[in-house]
Symmetry: C2
Subunit: 380 residues, 2 copies
DNA sequence: CCGTCGGATCGAAACGATTCGAGACCGAGC
DNA sequence: GCTCGGTCTCGAATCGTTTCGATCCGACGG
């Protein structure tokens, strides 16, 4: 396998201390002061090339690979770490390509500025009675990013503010003193619904994102509607109602394919004789389904197919996000495209800005209706 | 919105220093020494309840929320951070549910032990000429986890060893002095191929995982086969050949649905007249496709459908991973199920063990053949 | 030839906590 | 009354770096 030197590195020589060399060791070896040695590495401040080379040489001989980040961090008061609170359990958050794309943009932008991303579960993975993950309380981080829905009285947010960790919010309700990166949720949703109405649809059914963290699913009535405590959800619900009052609405527990499918079966079908589900009569059936996310829409599409209905002849389906979903072939989902990677990048920029002392502001990104093959004229 | 106190916290009183209180501040206020105050928080060492309460009270008055992690880290020499190197670009790594599930298990296990996960791109996101991400060189971490394929002369691995950061390897070739968590890749692959052969298939086509990081795709011949430099790939290639020599093999650039689809079109079809792809003649066509991953298999399945062929009547398709892919309905993929979350958990355990000074060992997890609806008898 | 200026180097003081050994205090036993 | 032992508290050292101000030196101008 030939991986070269052993595990510990070559301190087999007449090592004074068995431990890892420090800047002081290097300085001594090079015959300079610690401060000069520091200069040689950081490059801040004047230093003769010869001196620097001498220090770097001594470092190489000793196997010193650069200043210990811990010391540097204590001195500078910064850890170079940005905590990213992923809304829910990690598993579920990452099953959603939307989340992944945003995260990708975020990591890239932060990486370019030498910042690392520390993953923090929004809900403690171990102890369900605890309100927040222990990392929230005690991990070193310069800024925290809250993506995907800050509820009111969010315990994680509270803990972070108590600690004095600056916060950046994405896709959430505004938080005082924190930059916000949002998208034009409401108008975008309204636009796609207007597209459906323009095609002659009057009986529109809705598949909603989760209203809160309660894991509830089922029909969404006016009473429940008043309890919505998540921002993207609230905006999209409102966007739909800006144009039309849905004939039926279904609340899901998570934005995943399987939940979209169940919703479609519930909205467009009824239990059959032998335990199967059969479609409602055409006269009573909604002719269009607007889902709050593409994953939900994709599930709905599968559900519609499963009921033996044709898309878009019998039922039109539209989503939100603008994901590329090749496995829906031959269908291409009508959707509202949002710039996900850019959203991540803007979150990153907001973090950098905050660290640079800029005043927090709000960024709202535009979205665009993209018409696919899953929407068509309402059946006659 | 009523979020309560302002952003900075209430240091509007006659604040001596505008800055955040330290343990020294608290100690002074409580009338005890710094060391005693430390005891009050850490709980290590004897302390009278009254003294502790006095310290905690003072802390609350001053808005001190606990010891600064940076100071603690410098003293203890540990950062509480585990770097996780995700093989490729983040985007691609996270589009693979396999990666996500492993990561989820890992984060849970580490979280229970107070360790956080720092995301490190395996390939630098910004500067393509640079060999490793800057975080690899200078971020504080106690251990690094390399998941998904360590090549020979992996620059990231080299950099970590140079720094003296202990390493845990998952799904890779063994690394000296580093714990390894692997699965029974080869025997599992052999088992599913044996299943196909048992059904009478003799013309088996193979869709391979990437052989290295070159982003190549295309037919896989003996020459190229000798260049394989990734471990799960090497094992699965070998597992197939333990049972049968494939009539055709196709190398993909990533384990994603679209690449599986292209592979299937290339292996089972040929360019038609009007730019479309039409299936090969039944006599020449492979009757089974074994893909090295479920995502590739799913793509292959879509490709097969697209060619107008029936599964499993015309072509059987099998994968590896045991993912739940509801959108393939009504088909259920025949696959080899591997315990993904457990793999993550074992990686976490290895990290903990390493930090506790245990000797690194190897863990190999078992896999299980799960027969679905996508494999059947070879056509007569 | 002296004063001054600027660049390179050095010392020492943070940064904020943990930890070890020493000391203070108190009660009990002889 | 004195010593011993046990508990709690304190001082000081330490972790490894950065940075500020002082110092030292050679060179240049007057």
């Amino acid at each position: 396998m030939m991986t070269g030197t052993g595990h510990r590195g070559g301190d087999t020589a007449g090592g004074a201390s068995a431990h890892r060399p420090t800047l002081a060791t290097v300085a001594e070896r090079a015959g300079v002061s610690v401060s000069t040695a520091s200069l040689a590495f950081s490059g801040a401040g004047p230093i003769t090339p010869e001196t620097r080379d001498r220090v770097l040489g001594a470092a190489k001989e000793l196997g010193y690979t650069g200043p210990n980040p811990l010391g540097r961090q204590l001195r500078s008061g910064r850890s170079g770490v940005v905590g990213v609170v992923v809304g829910d359990q990690l598993r579920r958050a990452f099953r959603d390509p939307v989340a992944v794309k945003v995260l990708d943009g975020l990591v890239s932008t932060l990486g370019e500025n030498g910042l690392g991303v520390l993953l923090i579960p929004g809900i403690p993975s171990d102890d369900p009675e605890r309100a927040v993950d222990p990392l929230v309380e005690s991990a070193a981080m310069d800024v925290a990013v809250l993506v995907w829905g800050v509820g009111t009285d969010d315990p994680t947010l509270d803990a972070l503010r108590r600690r004095g960790v600056p916060v950046v919010v994405g896709e959430g309700r505004p938080v005082e003193g924190a930059p916000l990166v949002a998208i034009a949720d409401r108008t975008g949703t309204a636009e796609v619904v207007r597209h459906l109405v323009g095609l002659g649809h009057t009986r529109v059914a809705e598949v909603s994102l989760p209203l809160d963290s309660s894991d509830r699913s089922g029909p969404l009535d006016a009473h429940r509607l008043a309890q919505v405590d998540r921002t993207p959800t609230a905006n999209r619900l409102a966007g739909v109602r800006d144009v039309v009052e849905p004939v039926a609405s279904w609340e899901t527990e998570a934005s995943l394919v399987e939940h979209g499918r169940s919703a479609a079966l519930a909205l467009l079908g009824r239990p059959g004789e032998d335990g199967t589900v059969e479609p409602l009569d055409a006269a009573a059936r909604p002719t269009a389904v607007i889902a709050h996310s593409d994953l939900l829409a994709a599930g709905a599409l599968l559900g519609v197919r499963e009921l033996g209905l044709r898309v878009p002849d019998d039922v039109s389906v539209a989503g939100f996000d603008g994901l590329d979903l090749p496995w829906l072939a031959p269908d291409v989902l009508t959707s509202v495209e949002q710039p996900l990677a850019r959203k991540g990048a803007e979150l990153g920029r907001a973090v950098i800005g905050l660290l640079a002392g800029e005043e927090p502001g709000t960024v709202t990104l535009d979205v665009e209706l993209v018409v696919g093959t899953t929407t068509g004229p309402a059946p006659a």
